[in-house]
């Protein structure tokens, strides 16, 4: 079991309140991602759950029991750190066995669990090496191994992939998702990368300045962002947010339209503009189009190559059923 509940949890460092009182429930077996720009309090929130930081006020409940005053080791949670935090002077085997050794398990049980974890994570050949002799991805797996041998109620990941190169990151993302499917244990994952959030999460928690902006499944967030912050944060490339007279036509303070919901053509359309920089990905092309409708260039995603040149005159036609409308406070208008 690994249900985690935060009741009116808040955190201040001195007189600075980094997390105003906040409620959140994480169900057993869920993969929850905390996402937000740097400094939004997502790591602090994770450390509050882990017990590495003390809450200023409120209660952390694990499986219905108040864990607020329980020391980190006794909460039954395992954490994977951004820097992996492996013990450099111990072999991989000793690193993975460390929590078991601290728990006082007997030697044969330790060996059994370490061997099993190493098998699951493809680390069997590296057990006698030191962390310094491993690559980034292998170190990451050792850190995960150290977490899974404890058979915790929930896993906490603090930006675990941010030190890996892009190709490895995609691979590890799949491995972690795979691990979650197999173990079916609650996982809480902190990242600033919305792609990681979208691809891995059952539930995404979008945070800004310690405040939860929206909680929902990846598609809910994508299709129905609750406010302009979530609208701009989720999705890549970013949603085009247009204010002023163009928004007023739709009875809104701001309208949002995703790059994939705009058609670009040389024929007539809603907005006239000139092509700026275009980014060619092969499968897709992103055009940044300067128009009179918006002060910012509008990003358009088109499939394949269209053969449009820099400075060429084009017309944009947004798809009306995919238009998002927001009021003057930035909240969604249904």
């Amino acid at each position: 079991m690994g249900q985690i509940q935060l009741n009116q949890v808040s955190k201040s460092f001195g007189s600075v309140e980094v997390i105003p009182p906040l409620d959140l429930t994480i169900e057993d077996g869920e993969f929850v991602v905390f996402v937000g720009p740097s400094g939004c309090g997502k790591s602090t929130l994770l450390r509050l759950i882990a017990g590495l930081e003390d809450v200023t006020d409120g209660h952390v409940m694990i499986d219905g029991d108040d864990a607020t005053d329980i020391v980190p080791a006794k909460r039954g949670l395992a954490m994977v750190f951004q820097s992996y935090a492996l013990y450099p002077h111990m072999s991989v085997r000793k690193n993975i066995a460390f929590p078991l050794r601290m728990a006082g398990l007997d030697k044969s049980e330790q060996d059994r669990r370490v061997t099993e974890a190493a098998r699951v994570l493809n680390l069997t050949d590296y057990l006698e090496r030191r962390p310094g002799q491993l690559s980034g991805g292998q170190r990451q797996r050792v850190a995960i191994g150290r977490a899974i041998v404890r058979e915790p109620e929930a896993f906490l990941f603090d930006e675990p992939l941010s030190n890996l190169d892009a190709a490895l990151r995609v691979g590890m993302r799949l491995e972690i998702s795979e691990l979650h499917k197999r173990l079916a244990t609650t996982m809480i994952y902190v990242t600033h990368d919305q792609v990681e959030a979208m691809t891995m999460a059952d539930k995404i928690v979008v945070l800004q300045a310690g405040v939860i902006e929206q909680v929902g499944s990846p598609l809910e967030l994508y299709q129905r962002p609750r406010n302009t912050f979530v609208a701009g944060f989720i999705g890549s490339p970013k949603m085009n947010l247009i204010g002023g007279s163009e928004a007023a036509k739709h009875d809104a303070a701001t309208i949002g339209i995703r790059p994939e919901h705009i058609e670009i053509s040389e024929g007539p359309g809603a907005w006239e503009g000139t092509v700026g920089v275009s980014e060619h990905l092969g499968s897709d092309t992103f055009f940044h189009v300067q128009t009179a409708a918006s002060s910012e260039p509008i990003t358009v995603r088109a499939q394949g190559e269209l053969g449009l040149r820099y400075g060429q005159k084009v017309y944009l036609s947004p798809s009306m059923e995919h238009l998002h409308r927001f009021d003057s406070k930035g909240l969604r208008i249904e």
């Binding site: 882990a50 980190p72 080791a73 935090a85």
Partner: protein, 278 residues
């Protein structure tokens, strides 16, 4: 192009060394000016069989070992204390390091006269005030007194090196260990101490080199006495060549000291080499 500096450095080292070796084979006594005949290993024989040589060797080992023990353990303790945030830590850190800046003769004299003197010293006054017999530090426990004085001088050095090492410890490692269920003691034994191992070997190496040649502290406090109770090898060489005017004997002692220092250095280097590899 590097030959000038190589020649200069070699000369700098080789000339005094070869002169010392040369003198150690001569009968060269300043109070019997009867020429300096070649006497072979005679000086070595007499230096090694002198009862004060054995005493000096033991004293040297006890001094170096004792001071290393006190400074390393004390240094780790101080480093742990300094590592936590506290009020006025800038000033406190400077004050902890201050003893290192005091000249050996001065600090030894201050300790001898103001702290350890049985009549005027603070320790003596405290003992008398409490109704105990004051301890005559330099008379009753000369070796321990010198160990204490020199430890006081070297503690800042050990603290400084170990404190710097302590600060480079990744906090996430400690947090990970905390999550893994390690209490304070386990974290200290399994994370902090292994992290400090390298710094500890550096402290041991550098201090050993300097502690083998403690001299000023002995000269201004006990003069190597009473008897040979606080004479170390360096002081014994001084006694032979400058108090007994026997240059040959002193040189022989010097050569022996060089050999011993090299043996120690080889051991330490191997130890450090192992530790620095990881």
């Amino acid at each position: 192009m590097i030959s000038p500096s190589v020649i200069l450095l070699l000369g700098w080292m080789i000339i005094p060394l070869s002169l010392t070796i040369y003198f150690s084979f001569l009968r060269y006594n300043l109070i019997t000016p009867t020429g300096n005949p070649f006497v072979g290993w005679e000086n070595y024989y007499w230096f090694l069989t002198d009862p004060s040589f054995k005493a000096a060797m033991i004293n040297t080992l006890v001094m170096v070992g004792g001071i290393l023990l006190i400074t390393v353990i004390g240094g780790i303790g101080f480093a742990l204390l300094l590592d936590r945030p506290m009020w006025g830590q800038g000033i406190i850190r400077i004050m902890v390091i201050a003893p290192f800046f005091v000249m050996p003769t001065v600090s030894a004299l201050v300790w001898k006269n103001m702290f350890m003197n049985p009549v005027n010293g603070i320790f003596g006054r405290i003992a008398t005030g409490l109704g105990f017999e004051p301890i005559d530090f330099m008379g009753q426990i000369p070796l321990l007194s010198i160990v204490l004085i020199v430890s006081w001088m070297w503690l800042p050095f050990a603290t400084l090196i170990l404190f710097t090492a302590m600060q480079s410890l990744d906090q996430e490692q400690l947090e990970a260990a905390e999550m893994d269920g390690a209490g304070w003691t386990s974290r200290f034994i399994f994370i902090v101490l292994p992290h400090l191992a390298r710094a500890i070997t550096v402290v041991i190496l550098i201090q050993t080199i300097f502690l083998l040649s403690i001299f000023a502290e002995i000269l201004v406090t006990t003069n190597g006495g009473p008897g040979t109770a606080s004479t170390n090898l360096t002081y014994l060489i001084y006694v032979s060549s400058l108090l007994q005017f026997d240059v040959g004997m002193g040189s022989a002692g010097g050569v022996i000291a060089i050999i011993l220092a090299n043996i120690v250095a080889i051991f330490l280097m191997r130890m450090i080499g192992k530790n620095l590899d990881a």
